[in-house]
């Protein structure tokens, strides 16, 4: 990481302020006015629109392997998603994916 302490604190403060304003928007500022249906329809998909894109390059081109696709990491990713979809359980998916990575790295070593 090349960020200075001041830059890190700046990120933290800006994310905190922005997040607070998002949360406070209707509860505190706008009040109970109905949002247009099309806005709600888009907001519903923000997490699934951002997180998979954020993670895709990390899975496909991991830094640890110098950016080369790597079987243990791909398998760990697949197991994590499948466990998450099937059981809707965050911790189970994290530990399942982590265990897969650990085992596969031992097997392939």
């Amino acid at each position: 990481m090349m960020m200075s302490d001041a830059e890190i604190w700046t990120v933290i403060v800006l994310v905190a302020l922005g997040t607070y304003l998002i949360r406070f928007s209707f509860i505190g500022l706008i009040g109970d006015r109905d949002l247009p249906a099309w806005v709600l329809r888009h907001l519903r998909y923000t997490p699934v629109a951002v997180l998979p894109g954020l993670v895709a390059p990390l899975v496909l081109w991991p830094e640890a392997t110098g950016g080369n696709p790597d079987l243990p990491r791909l398998m760990a990713a697949a197991v994590t998603v499948l466990l998450g979809v099937k059981f809707k359980n965050l911790l189970l998916a994290i530990f399942g994916g982590g265990a897969t990575l650990f085992v596969m790295l031992q097997v392939m070593a």
């Binding site: 990481m1 090349m2 960020m3 302490d5 890190i8 604190w9 700046t10 990120v11 933290i12 403060v13 800006l14 994310v15 905190a16 922005g18 997040t19 607070y20 998002i22 949360r23 406070f24 928007s25 209707f26 509860i27 505190g28 706008i30 109970d32 329809r41 907001l43 519903r44 998909y45 923000t46 699934v48 629109a49 951002v50 997180l51 998979p52 894109g53 954020l54 993670v55 895709a56 390059p57 990390l58 899975v59 991991p62 830094e63 760990a76 990713a77 994590t80 998603v81 466990l83 998450g84 979809v85 099937k86 809707k88 965050l90 911790l91 998916a93 994290i94 994916g97 982590g98 790295l105």
Partner: protein, 234 residues
Amino acid sequence: MTTTKRAFLQGIRDSLPFIVVVAPFAMLFGVVATEAGLSPLQTFGFSVAVIAGAAQFAAVQLMADNAPLLIIVATALAVNLRMAMYSASIAPYLRGVPFWQRAFMSYVLVDQSYAQGLLKYETEPDLSPQARVAYFFGTMMLNIPLWYGGTLVGALLGSRIPQDYALDFAVPITFLALVGPMLKTAAHVAAAFTSVLLTLVLAFLPYNLGLMVAALVAMMVGAQVELMVERRRA
């Protein structure tokens, strides 16, 4: 016992199944953030100031990638935009609640307090405004200290683990674990696929702009697929 006090205790009780997740998740954030180069104080400050796991992980990952400051902030806030929807959907239930209480509620409006609160308000429409507030804070009474404490423990642990110690894949796994349960409908799946494909195709763009474009298009795809499914049903 007053109804307000009862609502508060109910909020705590209803939150019990969820708190199992909070402490380990917070610890993982503490470890990952310190591994990425944040000090324990910065890591702890992040959790106290923001209380939004996914956005915090996203910011830390982009910091480690040396993304520009504004891109980091914009991406983290994009992850949190869903909370505008939460805010809009519980606002009608908070008529008659004093402003300062609504200001505090906003600080702890997270996925879980929203989901639990809304369910309660819908199933018990006769609750007084004060009971609603009490229930809402009840849901966060154990969660918040566990989130702070877990982060601190993780940060102190993480600062002792040498950097680069095989934790490189903790963030991707955490995100994938968050995404899995979100893939509830065809529209969610379509949005997720769009996000992945476009980010990879646009990876050549500087400043992680590809992710921003991909996220915007993916939101539109999700919304359009939702409309199509609704029309077909109608």
